[in-house]
C-alpha cells in the first residue's frame, strides 16, 4: 500500500492542469471586485464628464471650425484664381529652405540657366544668318534688321525690368517669349 502510494505521479498535485488559464480567472475575479467597490455616483459623474460639453464650449468649437474652414477656403480660392498670372509670386518657405541648402535651384537660377541656353541657340542661328545674309537683296536685309531690332528692344526692356525686380513673373514670361521669337526669326531667315 505504501509502495503503491509512492509510485503515484506527483506532478498531478504540484501543478494545476492549466496554470495560465487559472491566473486569468483570478485576475478577472479581482477586477470585478474592484469595479463593484466604486460607488455608482462617481461612475455616472465620470461618464457625464467624458461626453457632455457646456454651451460655451460647443459654441466656441463651432466658431473655431467655421473660422478655420473659411480661412482655408479663402486661401484656396485666392491661390486658384491667381494661378500662374500673379506678377510677384514669392517662393514658398519650403522652396527657399531647399534652395538655400542647394537641393533645388532658385527661380532666378532656373531663369538664368534658361536664358543661357536660349542665348547659345541664338548665337548659333546668328552665325548661320551672318553667313547667308550676303546673298539677300537690300529689301530683305533691311526688313530683317528692322524686325530683329524690334525684338532686341523688347529683350533689352525686360532685362532692365528684371534687374530692378527679379521676382516679376510676367516680365520673365515676356522675356522668355521675346527670346523665343528672336530665335525663330533667326532660324527662319537662316533657311533662305
Amino acid at each position: 500500500m505504501i509502495l503503491d502510494f509512492c509510485d503515484l505521479d506527483e506532478t498531478d498535485y504540484s501543478l494545476p492542469p492549466n496554470s495560465k488559464a487559472l491566473w486569468c480567472r483570478i485576475n478577472n475575479l479581482i477586477e470585478t471586485e474592484i469595479a463593484s467597490d466604486i460607488p455608482p455616483e462617481i461612475k455616472e459623474e465620470k461618464q457625464k464628464r467624458s461626453w457632455q460639453f457646456s454651451f460655451g464650449q460647443v459654441f466656441a468649437s463651432i466658431l473655431g471650425i467655421a473660422l478655420v474652414s473659411s480661412l482655408l477656403t479663402i486661401v484656396g480660392i485666392q491661390n486658384y484664381s491667381a494661378g500662374d498670372v500673379s506678377a510677384n509670386t514669392a517662393p514658398s518657405l519650403f522652396d527657399r529652405a531647399m534652395s538655400k541648402v542647394g537641393l533645388v535651384e532658385t527661380p532666378q537660377q532656373a531663369r538664368e540657366n534658361r536664358i543661357r541656353e536660349q542665348q547659345a541657340a541664338i548665337e548659333y542661328w546668328n552665325k548661320r544668318v551672318e553667313a547667308k545674309r550676303a546673298n539677300w537683296d537690300n529689301y530683305l536685309r533691311e526688313a530683317f534688321d528692322r524686325n530683329l531690332n524690334e525684338i532686341n528692344q523688347v529683350v533689352f526692356e525686360y532685362d532692365r525690368i528684371l534687374q530692378e525686380n527679379p521676382q516679376d513673373d510676367l516680365s520673365n514670361e515676356m522675356l522668355d517669349s521675346a527670346l523665343n521669337e528672336k530665335m525663330a526669326l533667326l532660324r527662319e531667315f537662316s533657311e533662305l
Binding site: L140, A143, N147, E150, Q153, V154, L185, F189
Partner: protein, 257 residues
C-alpha cells in the same frame, strides 16, 4: 488769218507729237511690267478635310473659301521669278517656296490668290508680306509671318486659330467655337478681335508695354486687370474656349460682332 491757221496747225502737230512720245514711253513701260510678271495656275480636286500648307518667301497671300470641292491656286510672280513646285500628298497641298528657292540670290515677290473649299484647313506662312484669309470654317486656320506684314482673318469659324507676326496688325473677325483654341501674338502692331457677344471663353490678354487692352462690351465682372494692368484674365460665359493674346509693344482691342 492765214498766219493764225498756220500757227494753229503747228501747235496741233506739236501736241500730237508730244502725245505720241508720251504714249510710246508709257506703253513701253507697261509692256516691261507685264512681261516681268509671270503667272502660275493650278487646280487640285479637294477631298473632305483638305488642308493647304503654304510657305511663301515674300509677297501677299490671299486665301478665300468657296463652295467648290477644289483648290485653285493662282500665283503672280515678280521678276526674278521664283520656282514653285506644289505637291499633293494624302489630302494636303504643300507649297514651300523657301525650300524650292533655297540659296537663290534674288527672288521676286510671289503674290498668291488661293481658293479653297469652305471646310478646308489653312496653314500659311510667309517670311514677309500680308496674309488674308476669308470665309473658311475648317478645323484650323494658322497665319504666321516671320517678320513684318498684316494678318487679316475675316469670317472665320474654326476650332483652332493662330496668328503671329513681329511688326504688323492682326485682325480677326469670326466665331469662337466651343472648346476652341485661339492664339494671337505680335511684337508691335494692333491686335483687333471681332467676335460675337455671346461667345464663351477664358481669356489671357497681355500688353505689357502699352497696357492698352480694350475689352469693349466684354469688360464684364468676369474680367480683371492683373500685374499692374499689363494683363487681363477672366472668363466670358461658361469659358469653354481659350483665347490667348500677347502684344509686346502694341494694343489689344475686342469688338462686338
Amino acid at each position: 488769218m492765214i498766219w493764225d491757221l498756220k500757227k494753229y496747225t503747228a501747235i496741233r502737230k506739236t501736241t500730237i507729237f508730244l502725245f505720241s512720245v508720251v504714249f510710246f514711253f508709257a506703253s513701253a513701260a507697261a509692256s516691261v511690267e507685264v512681261s516681268a510678271q509671270k503667272k502660275f495656275s493650278k487646280i487640285y480636286p479637294a477631298s473632305k478635310n483638305v488642308r493647304l500648307q503654304l510657305t511663301n518667301r515674300t509677297g501677299t497671300v490671299v486665301v478665300e473659301g468657296w463652295d467648290r470641292q477644289e483648290i485653285n491656286i493662282s500665283a503672280y510672280l515678280e521678276a526674278p521669278a521664283a520656282t514653285i513646285v506644289p505637291q499633293s500628298l494624302s489630302g494636303t497641298i504643300y507649297l514651300n517656296l523657301v525650300k524650292d528657292n533655297q540659296g537663290k540670290k534674288e527672288v521676286g515677290n510671289v503674290n498668291f490668290l488661293i481658293k479653297v473649299p469652305y471646310d478646308a484647313s489653312v496653314d500659311i506662312e510667309t517670311m514677309m508680306g500680308n496674309l488674308n484669309v476669308s470665309n473658311v470654317r475648317g478645323g484650323l486656320v494658322r497665319a504666321h509671318i516671320s517678320s513684318e506684314g498684316d494678318i487679316t482673318l475675316t469670317n472665320i469659324s474654326a476650332g483652332a486659330v493662330a496668328a503671329e507676326n513681329v511688326i504688323g496688325d492682326i485682325f480677326f473677325d469670326g466665331t469662337v467655337e466651343s472648346e476652341g483654341n485661339y492664339r494671337f501674338t505680335s511684337t508691335r502692331g494692333n491686335i483687333n478681335l471681332r467676335i460675337p457677344f455671346n461667345s464663351s471663353f477664358k481669356l489671357v490678354a497681355t500688353a505689357p508695354s502699352t497696357r492698352s487692352i480694350s475689352l469693349g462690351d466684354f469688360g464684364n465682372s468676369g474680367m480683371k486687370f492683373v500685374s499692374d494692368g499689363r494683363r487681363v484674365v477672366g472668363q466670358a460665359g461658361d469659358g469653354s474656349a481659350t483665347i490667348s493674346v500677347t502684344n509686346q509693344r502694341g494694343s489689344i482691342s475686342f469688338i462686338r460682332r
